[in-house]
């Protein structure tokens, strides 16, 4: 199985192993990656699993639907490659993925 890396705002790295049928948010939660709150439990309704995807990986994380776009627009920490981790479906194609955590979740 592949691996993915979460990088905290202070530079701390967390490598996690890819598990089948889990969103990126669930990977963070199950591996105790700090800085992902996921208050709504993965419903694309709170904006607290915001991650900033490494440029080279952005296109591979899939399309952003209208709901996610709207929630991301409300995030003061938004960046061009922002995503909500609960909306990223993880497959082996994301082996090596690197995402950055914002300093604050909204």
């Amino acid at each position: 199985m592949g691996r993915m890396t979460f990088i905290e705002h202070d530079g701390t790295r967390h490598e996690v192993e890819i598990e089948a049928d889990k969103s990126l948010m669930q990977h963070a939660a199950d591996n105790m990656v700090p800085g992902i709150d996921a208050d709504c439990g993965g419903e694309c309704a709170c904006g607290t699993c915001h991650v900033i995807v490494d440029h080279q990986w952005f296109a591979k994380t899939g399309a952003i639907n209208g709901n996610e776009k709207q929630m991301l627009e409300m995030t003061p920490e938004g960046a061009p490659t922002s995503r909500l981790a609960c909306q990223i479906e993880v497959t082996d194609a994301l082996d090596g993925l690197v995402v950055h955590l914002p300093e604050f979740q909204m």
């Binding site: 208050d39 709504c40 439990g41 929630m71």
Partner: protein
């Protein structure tokens, strides 16, 4: 936009806002006198029946005494169990649907394309003749623009800058509390701290800060809106006073800025410097609406969670012991307090189309009330939901901030204020004992306390 709002906007450049409001008050009085005004419901308290004696269709959770009489828990449990999407056709606020389970509430909150937040998020209407406009009660895209104009004032990045100021003001309040003798926690701590916070955010004259609290209390407590006790002859003059005070604050700031002063980091300065809101002063109902939203939003909510936390720890004393032996639990406890208290009972929507929800058919145009207070006690979503557990797993997964585009903008500020309060309380006091029963607010919207006597004892500092 109503004709009266349009007229106000057109005349706003020449007629002071407070005069416009006085005129609206007078117009309503005249309508009353000639019998043309809408009837305002009157609420007189009497003991409510045990919910088990009622037919399901007669259950009316809009009753503003349900919270005060401690019956809301049993009423909502019956709705959750027997008819989770429930229709009440004869309430004093008109017919409405109640959505009471966690998952259904989340569904309604997420789907703004099915359920509109307009024209207002309370069960009843706003007082006639004064339809203020606020982004909590606007749908996208207008909502998004107005929210974006002000949300930075409470963005986490700026909160970091404010933390030491909030802590210092909290310390001052706590250091001046009487020790080993009863005092009213609501007035001395909860209201005082919230007033200080609001004055800071608005850059409002600090010595007049308690006015903000009074205005906020009046704004959310009209009988026709939430079943509260504020009469029209008190309401309108307060709105006029708010209009006058904030118009002046706005114009002073604009003048200082035009004279070359750097804009401050308060809400008024932010609005003055945003393309979408810089002319807000010329749209009185929006101007008042946005200010009212920020004041009410920052007042009733945090204040009642400050009181509710103390009450919860008194009802579950083993949790206070747990807290004292492990203060690192404070952030998790803060989320649990906000769930347990749920300071705002609900948000209201209006169906934009026919919607099937959990077996019920909601028709286009029907009022739909998402009862956060019930969803936060839904056994299907939360284990032992009536218990207050400071190290609860998943404590953040509560409904009190709402979900979707209207999710509470001040959530991080609220959490920070409560965290600082508890950090500073634990530094000082060994015991915080509630004396007798608190007094509860009359409202179907605000789950608040008007007073709660407590006695604090100092920690033995060695």
């Amino acid at each position: 936009m109503s004709i009266s709002t349009l007229a106000m906007n057109l005349s706003a450049r020449v007629v002071p806002m407070q005069w416009q409001i006085k005129a609206a008050h007078l117009a309503q009085k005249t309508l009353d006198r000639i019998g043309l005004a809408a009837k305002i419901p009157e609420f007189v308290e009497s003991p409510l029946p045990d919910v088990s004696t009622l037919a399901i269709e007669d259950i009316d959770v809009s009753n503003p005494f349900l919270w005060r009489q401690g019956l809301w828990g049993s009423y909502f449990k019956r709705l959750r169990d027997e008819q989770p999407v429930h229709f009440q056709k004869n309430s004093p606020f008109g017919p409405f649907w109640s959505v009471t389970r966690f998952d259904d509430i989340l569904f309604v909150d997420k789907h703004h394309e099915l359920f509109s937040a307009e024209p207002i998020i309370t069960l009843g209407d706003q007082p006639a003749g004064l339809a203020i406009e606020t982004f909590i009660a606007m749908d996208p895209p207008k909502h998004d623009k107005q929210r974006q104009a002000v949300q930075n004032v409470v963005a986490p990045k700026n909160l970091k800058e404010m933390e030491s100021l909030i802590r210092q003001r909290t310390q001052e309040v706590l250091d001046n509390l009487p020790v080993d003798q009863p005092f009213d926690w609501v007035s001395s701590v909860s209201i005082e701290l919230t007033a200080r916070m609001l004055a800071t955010l608005l850059d409002f004259p600090y010595e007049q800060r308690r006015k903000l609290v009074y205005w906020s209390d009046v704004a959310a407590a009209s009988p026709e809106t939430t079943g509260g006790q504020v009469e029209r002859d008190e309401f309108f003059p307060v709105v006029a006073e708010v209009a006058q005070a904030f118009s002046q604050l706005w114009r002073d700031k604009a003048a200082r800025q035009n004279a070359g002063e750097e804009p401050g980091f308060d809400i008024i300065s932010l609005m003055l410097n945003n393309e979408d809101t810089k002319d807000l002063i010329h749209r009185p109902m929006e101007f008042l609406g946005n200010l009212a939203l920020l004041i009410v939003g920052g007042n009733d909510t945090t204040r009642n969670s400050m009181t509710g936390g103390v009450l919860a720890l008194n009802k579950f004393p083993q949790e206070f012991d747990k807290l004292k032996s492990n203060p690192a639990l404070i952030p998790n406890m803060v989320s649990e307090i906000i769930r347990w208290q749920t300071p705002l009972a609900y948000m209201r929507r209006v169906a934009k189309v026919d919607v099937e929800l959990n077996g019920a058919t909601i028709r286009k145009g029907d009022k739909v009330v998402m009862w956060y207070a019930s969803g936060n006690r839904d056994e299907r979503a939360i284990d032992n939901p009536d218990d207050f557990i400071i190290d609860r797993k998943g404590a953040r997964n509560h409904l009190s901030f709402g979900f979707g585009v209207h999710r509470c903008m001040g959530n991080r500020l609220a959490e920070m204020q409560l965290r600082i309060l508890w950090e500073e309380l634990l530094e000082r006091f060994d015991r915080i004992e509630v004396q007798g029963e608190p007094e509860y607010v009359q409202s179907n919207f605000v789950r608040g306390y008007t007073s709660m006597m407590v006695k604090v004892s100092n920690k033995n500092r060695s």
